[in-house]
Every structure is written in structure tokens, then in C-alpha cells.
Amino acid sequence: MSKAKKILSSKPLIMMVWFLVLVVLWEIGASNMEKTKRTPENILPHVSQIVGSVTDGKLVSNNMTATQIVLKSAGATLERALIGFLFGSVFGFLMALLMKLSNLVEKTIFPYLMLIQMIPIIGMAPIILAITHDIGTSRIVIAAILTFYPVATNTLAGLNSVSKEKYELMYSYAANKWTIYKKVLIPSCIPYFFTGLKISAPMAITASILVDTLQGDGGLGCMLSQSLKHAMSIYVFWQIVFFSAIIGILSSVLMGFIEKLVSPQMRQFRQSRKHRSKA
């Protein structure tokens, strides 16, 4: 295969092409709307219009530009999503450890971990707001619950993935329980733990934005509703839509990146790359 052809068939490039196809489809739709609708920007603005609104210095509301509004409210939303996410992942990890340590705890909790996956927790957001009386707290609580169970189930799966022979080997060394956890179980479950994080990071963000829409104290969801009700420029809405989509995807990618940094299993790939470049 020639070099040019190789580059052309590389995966990132193919993804770029597909991405462009989506943009083109969007633009065709937008042009169509422009001809048929009185207010096309409410339904399908051009990509250039959305991008333009990002760099536009026009003040939309409260002496702020659309971008400033989005970034400021994103700060509030993401901060709480992050706190909830951290709580949820730490708690989920500890719960998985506890379930591994005690058969009784596992038997008691595990059915509920399964159950919680089947029920729409996010639908409970309004009631949690009613109980906590505080939008910030409820955002954290919902994000934490949504993070908790994917992390707990995946980490537990990781802890249970350790082969019988590894236990027997440790047994033959007369290793104590703490050593087995430190040297075998915890390193084994790290990739599974990150799988859980990758699933839950976008969920935590979704939850946080959704809770925003319930009460007006700033935050992405709140601005999104207001913009939809034409309380401010509709481009705030479009910016938030794309911003949250990008943040959702990036949060998952970020978890993968952190995994590569901390997980020893991943180090081997960097190692092998180094070897190849030496050769």
C-alpha cells in the first residue's frame, strides 16, 4: 500500500470524513429551513451561525455575551457534576471492595445494584430537589447515584475476574488478605473501574444539566430552558446543545486518558511503542 493510500484509509481520517458528512447534512437541512421558515435559527441554524455566535461580542443578557453565559453556567454545572462524580466513584469503589470482602454484604446489596440499573433514577431528580431544598446538593446527589452503580458493578466484576490460580499462588506464598488485595485484587480491577468511570462520566453531566432545568439559579440546563423560552438569544441554546454534547464525549475520553496515565496495565502499550520506535 502506498503511503498516501495508507494515510487516506487511517481511522481518524475516515472519522473526519464521516463527521464532515454529518455537517454537510446539517447544512443542507439548514439551507432548506432558511427558505421555508420565518425564524430558521429556532429550528436549524447554519453551523457558521452557531460558530459565529460563539465569537460574537454582542451582549445577550446581564451584560454578557452568549459565550460568556454558556461558560459561566457550565462552570456551575460541571463543578457539581464533578463533585457528585467524585463522591459516586469513591463510594462505588469502596462498596465493590466491601462486597468482595464480605459475602454477606454482597448478597444483601447486589440485587439492589441490579435493580437500580433498571429504574430511571434521573426521573427522581425533582423529588430529590424537594427533599434537599437545595439545587446544588440535589445535583451532587443525583450525579453521585448515577456514578455509583456503574462504578460499583464494574469494579466488582473486576475483583471477581481474578483467576483461581492467582489465589492459589498467593495461598502457597502464605500471603495474608491485605497483601492479596494490595498486590492482586486492586490492580486487577483498575481497568474495570475505569470502564465504570467512562460510562458514568457523561451520565453525571447529563444528570447535572437536567437538575439545572428544574430551578433557575444559573447552570447550563437553566440557561437552556430560558433560551428556549426566548428569554435570551436562541444561540445560547444552540451553543449549550453542542457544548454539552462535546463535554459529554470529552468526559468519557478524559477518563480513558486518565486510565492510561495511572493504570499499570496500559503502561505496556507505551513500552511496546517505545521498543518499536527503537527498532
Binding site: Y171, A174, K183, P187, S272
Partner: protein, 267 residues
């Protein structure tokens, strides 16, 4: 150590298996006799093979020695102590059929793992691991991860790890059965070399007759249903062994002798 002294030393019984029986319940609740009145004495420094078809209880017997299983009746004594006491003194080196390496540790760190558990100092660990890796010829791969190695190399790491803890007894459960014939032959000679240099007692479980004859001082032939010891064949091939011996008449005779000592028609 002089040859005579070595011979003298070999006469000392290290492991005594005394009328060991082992029965399990199978899925339908029936009693299955895995081991039936096994008696065996293993001398210090001996290379012993437990040979038999699947279901003959050879792995079960190895596991009772390793304190991974407790016999239903009868007892195992190692230098006068129970297997559990020996295990708690960390005197067992075990090699399984699969290499059982820890994929997040480098080759060297894998060899060091049991030494960490035994609280060796960092320098000693490193020195010992280097020494062991040199013995199995993997010095160049010390910083690689298990997934970057071939199956044979991975099993070598497992062997290096087992020898690294300076065990009294080395227990090997079909360690080469997943490897190709060429790799296997190479590892046979490596294992014999390490055994000669370290004077360990080795108990080697296998279903390969040639392998058992080539490696061992004694081949213990086990037959299934119920698992029982049907013969102990002394292998008087001279040491050190080499691959040429496999072509000799004596070797062929020994293989035939072992094969003929199986009982039961299930073969």
C-alpha cells in the same frame, strides 16, 4: 558437594504420603474416589513425576502436598511437618499449567512478587530476580510485560519465580502441556539444569510418558477410577540427561515399562 554426599543426602525421606484417600461428591451427589489409599515416600532432592491420564488424581495428589486440598483420610508429612506448616514457612514453589503472571507487572517484577510478600529487601529482591532471569535466559526481557512474551517465555518466567523463593519443594502441575514440542524440549533441559544447580525436590505432574521418563528419577504411575498408585518405576538413565538419550534403546524400554504398568482398560 561431593557426589557421594549427594547420594547420601538423597536417601533422606522428605515427603511421606501415608495412606491418603480423597473423595468428592460429584454433581449428582455420588461419592467419587479421586485418591485411593496412596502411599509414597519422596526423598530429598529427588525429581518425581506423577504420571497418568486425566481423572487419575495426579493433580489432586499434588494439591494435597501443596496444602491446597486436605485429604479425606490419611496424612501427608513433609520433613515431619504438615503441608500447612511448610506452606506458612513459604517453602513451596508452585508452577501451574498456565503461567499465572500478573499482567500489570514487568517480567522482573513478577519474579520479585513472592519475594515482596516475604519481606526481602529491595536490593536482595532485585539481585535474586536478575539471577533467576539469567538462569532461564530472559535477562534481556526483564522490563517487558507478560503480554509481550511468547507462551514458552511466559512459562519460563513462572519457573524463575518458583525457583526464586528458594523453596524446599517445587510443585509443577503440567507446566509444559500447553507448549509446542520444540519449546518443551528446550524447557526440559533448562529445568533439569536449574534443578541440578539448586538441589530442590521436584514433584512434576504430567500426562506425557516420554516427558516423565526423560525428566525424572522416579515415575509414579497413577490409574483412574478410583485414582490409585499402580507402579513406581525407577528411571536409571544417567545424569545429566541429554536429548540423544531419547533415541536409545534403554529409553524406549523404560517408556514401554511405564506404559505397561497402567492398570484398567480405560487407556
Amino acid at each position: 558437594m561431593s557426589e557421594m554426599l549427594k547420594e547420601e543426602w538423597k536417601k533422606e525421606i522428605e515427603i511421606k504420603i501415608d495412606d491418603v484417600c480423597m473423595s468428592f461428591k460429584d454433581n449428582s451427589g455420588n461419592d467419587v474416589q479421586a485418591l485411593n489409599h496412596i502411599n509414597l515416600a519422596i526423598h530429598k532432592g529427588e525429581f518425581i513425576s506423577l504420571l497418568g491420564p486425566s481423572g487419575c488424581g495426579k493433580t489432586t495428589l499434588l494439591r494435597t502436598i501443596a496444602d491446597l486440598l486436605e485429604p479425606t483420610t490419611g496424612k501427608v508429612r513433609i520433613s515431619g511437618m504438615t503441608p500447612k506448616e511448610i506452606r506458612l514457612q513459604q517453602k513451596f514453589g508452585i508452577v501451574f499449567q498456565s503461567p499465572v503472571l500478573f499482567e500489570w507487572r514487568t517480567v522482573k517484577k513478577n519474579v520479585e512478587l513472592p519475594l515482596e510478600i516475604m519481606y526481602w529487601s529491595k536490593e536482595e529482591r532485585s539481585k535474586q530476580a536478575d539471577k533467576m532471569l539469567e538462569l532461564v535466559g530472559l535477562t534481556k526481557f526483564a522490563d517487558h510485560y507478560p503480554k509481550q512474551l511468547s507462551g514458552g517465555m511466559q512459562q519460563r518466567v513462572g519457573i524463575a519465580r518458583a525457583f526464586g523463593i528458594k523453596p524446599n519443594i517445587l510443585l509443577m502441575d503440567e507446566p509444559f502441556s500447553a507448549l509446542d514440542e520444540f519449546t518443551k524440549e528446550k524447557l526440559h533441559d533448562d529445568l533439569l539444569k536449574m534443578w541440578r544447580e539448586t538441589n530442590k525436590t521436584v514433584i512434576f505432574v504430567t500426562h506425557n510418558i516420554q516427558e516423565a521418563v526423560y525428566l525424572s528419577d522416579k515415575v509414579c504411575v497413577l490409574s483412574p477410577h478410583p485414582g490409585r498408585l499402580s507402579a513406581v518405576v525407577d528411571i536409571d538413565l544417567e545424569r545429566p540427561r541429554n536429548i540423544r538419550m531419547k533415541e536409545s534403546q534403554h529409553f524406549t524400554d523404560l517408556v514401554a515399562k511405564v506404559r505397561n504398568s497402567f492398570e484398567g482398560g480405560s487407556l
